[in-house]
């Protein structure tokens, strides 16, 4: 006979404002099997939890139902509470009275009635619940980090420094990511390369880190603690063991006019190339799309000039299989295509450039060696206009969200410009200046007050060329929308940060969720910001949303700690909410008839064949068995099994059936 305790939380007034909590508790006390029913102001608080624990002990409760906020919030909290009082944690169920009831309905009889029936439903479920014990799975103590930007570098180093093996893969020929492209960084204006390159080198030299550049994730199998990954090592056409990085090949390559990705299209590179001088590894690859040999079938000049015979044409991509225990995804971001804004003339006028291109112009390693010269004629622009929010916060044409970093880098750009062009004039068109962050506001004020950057609040309507000048037309909303027209020499667009190319496909490969902008989704936006909903896969950096460097690095260290924390355990303890194929007394042994259609339905390859043998060792029948290490508990097999021989713990047929019957009959 069940002895169930019902605990109705007021959640301050979050629930009690619209639900008569006292009445819910009273009504529940009348339900068959309920031994104790009470309401309380804050169930999740210390006294609230104590209340639950005492009731479990005093009334020998066999099950607990808590009417509170969403189980996605506090299920774990209350299960722990129950466990501390000696009740199996899986005998605790949560009725969602806040998100699904009090917050979405007006105060009234119907709302309280709904609350009552939701709690009753869970009471019926608890009656059918079985105590469950956690599953223990061994852990492969090796991590995979995808993406070699600053986030990936930081995460790899942190994990490696904890003594664990790390595989870092980067799709480009060098690690470094967007940070390596930056000139100086806000708010301290220290040189990006100066602070980044030592870390890049550290990665390459770290004994615990295996670095694969020009490599991509091909597929992922398995689950937390035991992922089986396949990495595609794209053919570099250069044997890194033989190559000394002397650079002769690049200097002889006849293809010299390829826009350099590193310089954001403002410079050129060759087909066999090292993306930038400080690249790690500092060894070239052949870009097959532009290589004469790969495209036209002859050339091989590089092969002829290579002193170490390192060039190897026509090698296929290699597929490398690795077992890892955790994955950190740090694939970064991209900048919004500027063709959203034909009125700004990007692509039409050479001197309308993006913020990232300006970074290259301002960078000492850039195409102009750090001098601000406009792309069209190499002249030093005397008047420059920066357009903030070029795409961001623009639901109509761009993206609805704020790209977060633009305000700061625009201020930085204007400041750098003023430092380099002392007689120059700079204007910033802005909507709002968002300078939340340590020393950020001061930085912007410095740009305005010390460096004389002119901030104009308003949107730019259009940019057009007239007599060799770029006419920027806008409005100053602080002056009542007065039209502003500036004859500029150069225009810099602070284009929005967007998710990286292929983010969606990558997410689908790894079975992690992503938002409508294709940024990867955290398990919880506040409390689990570096975890995904898929156990064992973590996130850091701008693949989650546009982020500045400090946020990226702290996220990366956070993810690394999660990985290290996971690896610090000898066994992984998993929730037992997995499918099980029944076993029963002989001669049946299991009601499974062995059609193995579940095997074809399981996305995790968790269904195995088990031969049931008699005493002589003869196989009597072959039935399905679920590998508890692989099963993730989706339950597709359960709904599919015709004879109902598979059930899923925590969501059993009996439990779900009882819930439905209860909802409609009580």
């Amino acid at each position: 006979m069940s002895k169930i305790g019902v605990f109705i939380c007021h959640c301050g007034e979050n629930i009690s404002a619209t639900v008569d909590c006292q009445r819910v508790a009273e009504e529940l006390s009348k339900v068959d099997g309920v031994a104790y029913s009470i309401d309380y102001k804050y169930m999740c608080s210390d006294p609230g939890q104590t209340l639950i624990k005492q009731a479990i002990k005093e009334h020998n409760l066999t099950g607990v139902v808590i009417g509170s906020c969403s189980p996605r919030m506090h299920e774990l909290t209350f299960r722990k509470t129950c466990a501390e009082a000696g009740l199996n944690p899986y005998m605790c169920e949560i009725a969602n009275l806040r998100e699904h009831c009090s917050w979405v309905h007006e105060k009234g009889e119907a709302t309280t009635e709904k609350a009552i029936s939701l709690v009753k439903m869970l009471v019926e479920k608890v009656k059918k619940d079985h105590p469950l014990t956690s599953i223990q799975v061994p852990i492969t103590k090796k991590a995979l980090v995808i993406g070699g930007g600053i986030a990936g570098i930081q995460a790899s180093l942190d994990i490696a420094n904890c003594g664990h093996q790390v595989i870092l893969i980067e799709k480009d020929p060098s690690i470094g990511g967007h940070m390596s492209q930056l000139s100086e960084t806000f708010p301290t204006l220290d040189c990006s390369q100066c602070i980044l390159t030592p870390r890049m080198v550290e990665v390459a030299q770290h004994p615990n880190i295996t670095l694969y550049t020009y490599a991509e994730l091909d597929s992922v199998d398995g689950s937390i603690g035991n992922f089986h990954v396949t990495i595609r090592l794209k053919a570099k056409s250069v044997d890194p063991k033989k190559c000394t990085g002397c650079g002769t090949c690049s200097s002889k390559c006849p293809q010299k006019k390829i826009p350099s990705e590193f310089n954001a299209g403002l410079g050129t590179r060759t087909a066999i190339y090292v993306p930038f001088p400080q690249a790690v590894p500092n060894k070239p690859v052949i870009d097959k799309e532009h290589c004469n040999y790969y495209q036209k079938g002859k050339c091989q000049l590089c092969k002829k000039v290579c002193p170490t015979d390192a060039i190897e044409f026509d090698k296929p991509d290699e597929l490398l299989k690795e077992d890892v225990g955790a994955i950190v995804v740090t694939t970064g971001f991209n900048v919004l295509k500027t063709d959203f804004f034909p009125e700004y003339g990007y692509g039409k006028y050479k001197d309308v450039i993006t913020g990232l291109q300006f970074e290259r112009l301002a960078s000492a390693s850039g195409p102009t060696l750090g001098e601000i010269r406009r792309p069209s004629d190499g002249q030093i622009p005397k008047k420059i206009v920066f357009v903030a929010c070029a795409g961001s916060r623009d639901p109509a044409k761009g993206i609805p969200y704020c790209s977060k970093i633009c305000c700061m880098y625009t201020a930085k750009h204007a400041m750098l410009y003023q430092h380099k062009v002392h007689d120059g004039e700079s204007y910033v068109f802005y909507m709002d200046v968002r300078a939340g962050g340590k020393n950020y506001e001061e930085f912007v004020r410095r740009a305005i007050e010390e460096d004389g950057v002119k901030y104009v609040r308003g949107r730019v309507a259009r940019v057009y060329e007239k007599d060799g000048k770029l006419i920027v037309k806008g409005a100053d909303t602080l002056l009542g929308g007065a039209p502003v027209e500036i004859e500029a020499d150069m225009v810099v667009l602070a284009t929005a940060g967007v998710s990286n190319n292929g983010a969606e496909q990558l997410a689908q490969k790894m079975h992690i969720s992503y938002d409508s902008y294709k940024f990867f989704a955290e398990a919880h936006p506040k409390l689990r910001p570096v975890e995904t909903n898929t156990a064992g896969i973590f996130l850091a950096g701008a693949c989650q949303a546009p982020k500045d460097i400090p946020d990226t690095v702290s996220g990366a260290s956070g993810a690394a700690v999660k990985v290290a924390g996971l690896f610090s355990q000898s066994m992984l303890v998993r929730e037992p909410l997995i499918a099980v194929v029944n076993r029963c007394a002989p001669p049946l042994f299991s009601t499974c008839v062995g059609c193995f259609m579940c095997e074809t339905a399981c996305p995790y390859h968790a269904i195995e064949h088990e031969e049931i043998k008699n005493r002589n060792g003869d196989v009597i029948k072959t039935v399905a068995k679920v590998n508890p290490g692989l099963c993730q508990g989706c339950g597709t097999c359960v709904a599919f099994c015709r004879s109902k021989s598979i059930d899923i713990q925590g969501y059993t047929n009996e439990e779900m059936y009882a819930e439905v019957v209860s909802l409609l009959n009580n």
Binding site: V593, C595, F596, T600, S643, Y657
Partner: protein, 267 residues
Amino acid sequence: MNKLEEKAVSLLQSGVKLILGYEKGDKGARPFFCHTPEDASKLIYDEHATTNLATYILKPELMGHDKVAVCATLRTLRAIAQLASENQIKEENLIVFTITEEGNGDVKEFSGIDEINSYLTDKELEVAQLYKELDEKLSGMSREEKWSFWVNEFSRCIKCYACRAACPLCYCTRCITDVNRPQWIDPWPSPMGNMEWQINRVMHMVGRCIGCGACTKACPVGIPIGYLSRKMLNDLSEEFGYIPGQAMKDGNSLSTFKPEDKENFIH
């Protein structure tokens, strides 16, 4: 001695312990278990025989370790092919032969499941006249009329499970109707319980039904139950990518999917 009898005698003399076939009965051909060469003369072949002999292949009490041969009609062949795709056939103990359609009574023995599958590829699965008539009748009905038609049909069901017993693909060790935790289907004969039972049967048959009609023929009260599975078989074949009457490889319709599956009702 006809060719069938010759075949049966030679099989029985070469170590086969049992031949599943048909003999003459009160209501046409009925299943016959031929154990001895002396009985072989009773064997007849009737491609219209309603009992699907594949049903017996799955009965442990009949199928021990001995070799068994089946004189299979097209319907039986279809069932065997489907059962093989569901891991239910022990090929090493089973010999399957049929009488070819050419009419001179030639016996064809299959080398294995693959040959059965290829034999079936050009055999179109026809729709029974009864079902065609029913299709016509139902197509003229409003939703409410359909509902009351089927409620009336199912209310006559006595839950004798002859449909289940006769179906070669209803081979679960424990049928869902025998599951009582929870009691998915009312075990007593009642209009709703009967309907739920048939809905289950049809859902369990999606992409698996081989359209042999054994269920309809077996129903003692004359409910055209096979119509539902048969209609689903045809209606969904294009959608789910199978050919009615032929076994699917690598899982069946509801245990597999295509990311591009089309529907127009999920919004």
